[in-house]
């Protein structure tokens, strides 16, 4: 079965197998998602005609907000925390039939990029536990990471109302005392909140050498935005963690796989490296033609691990590709009423 073959590929990728897997996975989705099949037929792109993953018709990320795109009974349902730009006020819903495949993806990528020494260490999660966010894809991932890679001192310090500063402070104190490297799993926004909290009481920690921060996401849907450089500076000042110990993760509710920066291996801190089973292209925003490396366009991902929903996904994110990965260049703002609507930006000073 295709899902098992992809599962095996995730465990032991062999580039030579990718094409066949991609085409078989397309055929699988073509057979099981009726609206997708109809769209492919209208475009005369069927398993009989498509010869490369590039030719597999894309599904727009916003379609997850209004359509059921699933190849089998969903075992997990993930909802986006914000709204998709093209689908105002609608949440993206990723019905996931293969959570075991998702776990395999996490196992094959997270430790490799974030905990390369293979140790179990104290983890601080600034992502709420699944009991609080049962339908969060990131929550699912962090739950798996906490239970498989976290030492006994691991802690969630984020609840329904956000970052729990007091709990985080105690954990940071204890970690500093213990002297063992730790890892913090966080969204950009939660990290900014934690740093705000620590800053307000003017604490400065020196987390043990080898400690790491895995940061994901931006400030979408939030009124407060802080520059990446400012976060990095405050991380160094307040937690004693340098920019060379911050691994950025790129993921989205509509994808199963994640890409990471190779910061811990002296890699470019802005270059996201996708796993071997996920291909990325930048497309011309006007024509959707594939762009050469280095040119900013719309990012599209072909993620074999998304075999249960949408293999080939057109995102709203802007970025460019280059050998080995891709860089982000922004995200489309939400569609909003215009006319007299620019004051918010004006007054926010952006």
């Amino acid at each position: 079965m295709i899902v098992e073959r992809i599962h095996r590929f995730v465990g032991a990728p062999a580039e030579a197998d990718f094409r066949a897997l991609a085409l078989d996975a397309f055929a699988y989705q073509f057979a099981r998602i009726a609206p997708y099949r109809a769209m492919c037929e209208r475009a005369s792109r069927t398993p009989g005609t498509v010869e490369s993953w590039r030719e597999v018709p894309m599904i727009p990320a916003t379609a997850f907000a209004s359509m059921e795109l699933v190849t089998a009974e969903a075992k997990e349902v993930f909802r986006s925390s914000g709204t998709l730009a093209g689908a105002t006020n609608e949440q993206s819903v990723h019905r996931h039939p293969f959570p075991e495949l998702y776990r395999a993806v996490i196992d094959a990528t997270f430790p490799r990029h974030v905990l390369p020494a293979g140790d179990q260490r104290p983890l601080l999660s600034l992502v709420p536990p699944r009991a609080v966010v049962s339908d969060s894809s990131l929550g699912f991932m962090v739950d798996h990471v906490m239970s498989h890679y976290g030492g006994p001192e691991s802690l969630y310090a984020c609840g329904a109302r956000g970052v729990e500063g007091g709990k985080a402070r105690s954990w940071l104190n204890a970690s500093q005392r213990e002297g063992r490297p730790v890892a913090i799993l966080t969204t950009s926004y939660a990290l900014a909140d934690l740093l705000d909290f620590i800053g307000r009481i003017d604490l400065k920690f020196r987390l043990p050498a080898g400690s790491v921060v895995m940061e994901t996401g931006g400030f979408k849907g939030r009124t407060k935005e802080i520059s990446r450089n400012e976060i990095r500076e405050r991380l160094t000042t307040r937690l004693g963690i340098g920019a060379d110990a911050v691994v950025a993760e790129y993921g989205m509710t509509e994808l199963t796989s994640q890409a990471y920066t190779r910061t811990l291996f002296d890699g470019d801190p802005d270059l996201f490296v996708p796993p071997p089973w996920m291909k990325v292209r930048a497309l011309d925003p006007l024509t959707l033609a594939e762009l050469p490396n280095g040119t900013v366009g719309l990012l599209a991902f072909f993620d074999l691990a998304n075999v249960g929903s949408a293999l080939h996904l057109l995102t709203e994110d802007l970025g460019s590709t280059e050998p080995g990965g891709f860089r982000l260049a922004g995200r489309a703002p939400e569609a909003a009423l215009r006319g007299c609507s620019l004051l918010a930006e004006e007054l926010a000073g952006r």
Partner: protein, 407 residues
């Protein structure tokens, strides 16, 4: 490059980066001398100077227009053709005849102190809508230009002052960082009326600071209602203008079409008409982030087996959406056609947006029959297709009487 500020003669700004102290000084100077200086110029003379000034900016060959145009082209993000037509429609609405008509409605002024306006930057030339009533009422006015359109207001005020120096004492336009509360407070603390365009957090923050002195014009959208018994080609041709003007950035830009006419036929006609508009009024540079949103809509239409848009994305996107729910368009001349059994159903679809629908283009008797109900819902502009954006100085933007605002 035109200057980005206009201040009364004798006021020497230290730099273009306006600080709190300087803004306070400027507001004080306007409040101190403005009312008297404006009162020294008769209403007839004010109208005469205004009319001459607008006529100059309407004339593509005038020196003032030629000096302003390149900078405006750069900041507006419109094509040269789009900017020309946009300026024309905004300025004609404030030209001599509508200005005199507005003057005929002059109420007895109750306030004479300094007023303030925080301008939006989505459409060039909008400063005329607030400067004209203030000018007629003899009220000094401090305008904060948007960073996206910092040029027109200073150019307008400079042109007025060049023709009648007394007017220069009553008005100022500056651009400063609106994200800094101390600057906003310094500029407008002494105003007894502040008109601000915008929404959300920005307006909340101003409301907290200025209380009932603030008049907020929130973000709005416009739609079209098209009944049966129309000439679809003709209506589409006119609607395409309502959609394409200002690259669909205005609050009077049509974003959705509700119709009892066969939706497929109307959509085909609209696409044809948008293709013509694309040649006549090409779009300005297309932001990739906006194109990203439109590509999502196009992709979703393909997946939902809806009518596939055939135009290049730069020319526009016409979608058919059976669900009548209104969704704001991402721009780039993207419009959803909603087929209805009865046009009245549009009222229910727009109900959740009550107060945020600025205008409606109407075509066909069935559409015009709904005019009273649309007005009752707070729609401030009803017009025949093709005329929606052609407002004049007396238009009650957002339902607000421009004279009453400053009187």
């Amino acid at each position: 490059m035109p200057v980005r500020f206009a201040v009364p003669a004798g006021f020497e700004p230290q730099s273009e980066a306006w600080g709190a102290v300087e803004l306070e000084r400027l507001a004080a100077a306007l409040a101190r001398r403005g009312t008297e200086a404006l009162a020294d110029v008769s209403l007839d003379r004010r109208l005469e100077v205004w009319s001459q000034t607008i006529a100059v900016f309407l004339d593509p060959e005038s020196a003032e227009r030629r000096a302003l145009f390149p900078g405006l082209l750069e900041t507006s993000g419109l094509s040269a053709e789009g900017l020309c037509e946009g300026l024309e429609i905004v300025l004609e609405g404030a030209a001599e005849r509508p200005a005199r008509a507005l003057a005929a409605t002059l109420p007895p002024p109750r306030r004479r102190g300094l007023a303030g306006v925080v301008l939006a930057g989505n459409i060039p030339g909008l400063a005329v809508q607030s400067v004209l009533p203030a000018l007629l009422l003899g009220r000094p006015l401090l305008l904060k230009s948007a960073s996206a359109e910092p040029l027109f207001a200073p150019a307008l005020l400079a042109a007025l002052a060049a023709r009648e120096p007394g007017l220069g004492q009553g008005f100022a336009a500056v651009m400063f960082d609106g994200g800094k509360p101390d600057l906003v407070a310094s500029a407008f603390a002494s105003t007894d009326r502040l008109l601000a365009y915008g929404g959300g957090d920005a307006i909340s923050s101003l409301t907290a600071r200025f209380g009932n002195r603030l008049v907020a014009c929130g973000p709005k959208a416009s739609v079209a209602l098209v009944g049966t018994g129309i000439d679809a080609v003709l209506v589409a041709r006119k609607l395409a203008r309502d959609i394409a003007l200002f690259d669909q950035r205005g609050c009077l830009s049509v974003q959705a079409v509700y119709t009892t006419y066969p939706a497929g036929e109307l959509a085909d006609a609209l696409e044809w008409a948008l293709a013509i508009e694309h040649r006549r009024l090409p779009p300005g540079p297309i932001p990739p982030s906006t194109a990203a949103l439109v590509q999502q809509l196009r992709g979703a239409a393909a997946l939902r087996a809806r009518r596939l848009p055939e135009l290049p994305i730069a020319a526009g996107t016409v979608l058919i959406e059976p669900e009548p729910r209104f969704t704001p368009s991402p721009g780039l001349r993207t419009v959803c056609v909603h087929p209805l059994g009865e046009l009245r159903q549009a009222l229910a679809a727009l109900e959740p947006w009550k107060g945020r629908i600025q205008g409606s283009a109407l075509a066909g008797d069935e559409a015009w029959a709904l005019a009273p109900e649309l007005e009752a819902c707070g729609v401030s502009r009803l017009a025949a297709a093709g005329e929606l954006q052609a407002v004049d100085a007396g238009w009650h933007n957002g339902g607000l009487d421009p004279m009453a605002l400053f009187a």
